[in-house]
């Protein structure tokens, strides 16, 4: 199973990518570990996480096709 991961704003810049796919992740904690291994610099930034366009907090189960987005503080207007 595979999930789609999106990075926005400054996080797209520091990771050098806007879109990445991860396989074999069944929970948010698994995904967060994989991401902090791949992009250790991300820990220096504030962000929230959206699962399928809904902001989430804490542990969640991931399903194939889920979209997880790493969102820096918003700056609209």
């Amino acid at each position: 199973m595979e999930v789609k991961v999106l990075f926005f704003g400054v996080l797209a810049e520091v990771t050098g990518t806007a879109l990445k796919h991860y396989s074999d992740v069944s929970r948010m904690s698994d995904l967060n570990h994989r991401i902090s291994d791949d992009f250790p610099e991300i820990v220096h930034y504030n962000f929230r996480i959206a699962l399928n366009s809904q902001i989430i907090d804490g542990e969640h189960t991931l399903l194939a096709g889920d979209e997880v987005a790493y969102l820096p503080p918003f700056a609209g207007g």
């Binding site: 810049e13 700056a75 609209g76 207007g77």
Partner: protein, 144 residues
Amino acid sequence: MEFNYLIEGPVSSGIIASYMEMISSVKNAGGHSFFLGQVRADVMEGKTVTAIEYSAYENMVVAEADKIIESVMAEFDDVKTVRIIHSKGIVKAGEISLAVMVSAGHRKHAIDACAKTVELIKERLPVWKKEIYSDNSHTWKDNQ
């Protein structure tokens, strides 16, 4: 006329004019309040902002803007229509990057609902801005 929430580049005077033409058919409205957000040529450490590059999580913008409009219309029951138009991509200093246009039966709800919509956009819309300076350097800015 139907708009999307996001448009590429600045909000043009034509978009605002289109809304003004549309409201002539909203005959139960007695007041309209518009807010236009403009890119300001701030000076930071001797460098002037020449443009902002906006990026957005587009699916979530649609979901959140729908919710913002729903909550504003629930809070201000005299409001007839709420339009939100936000730029993505490059908007130069002096150009408009956000238009909020609210029509209501009476002025108080039009003005208050417009102000509330702008605050909710700042808080909830998944949009990011990169300020670009005259020397081509840049800084990411946020609303906190």
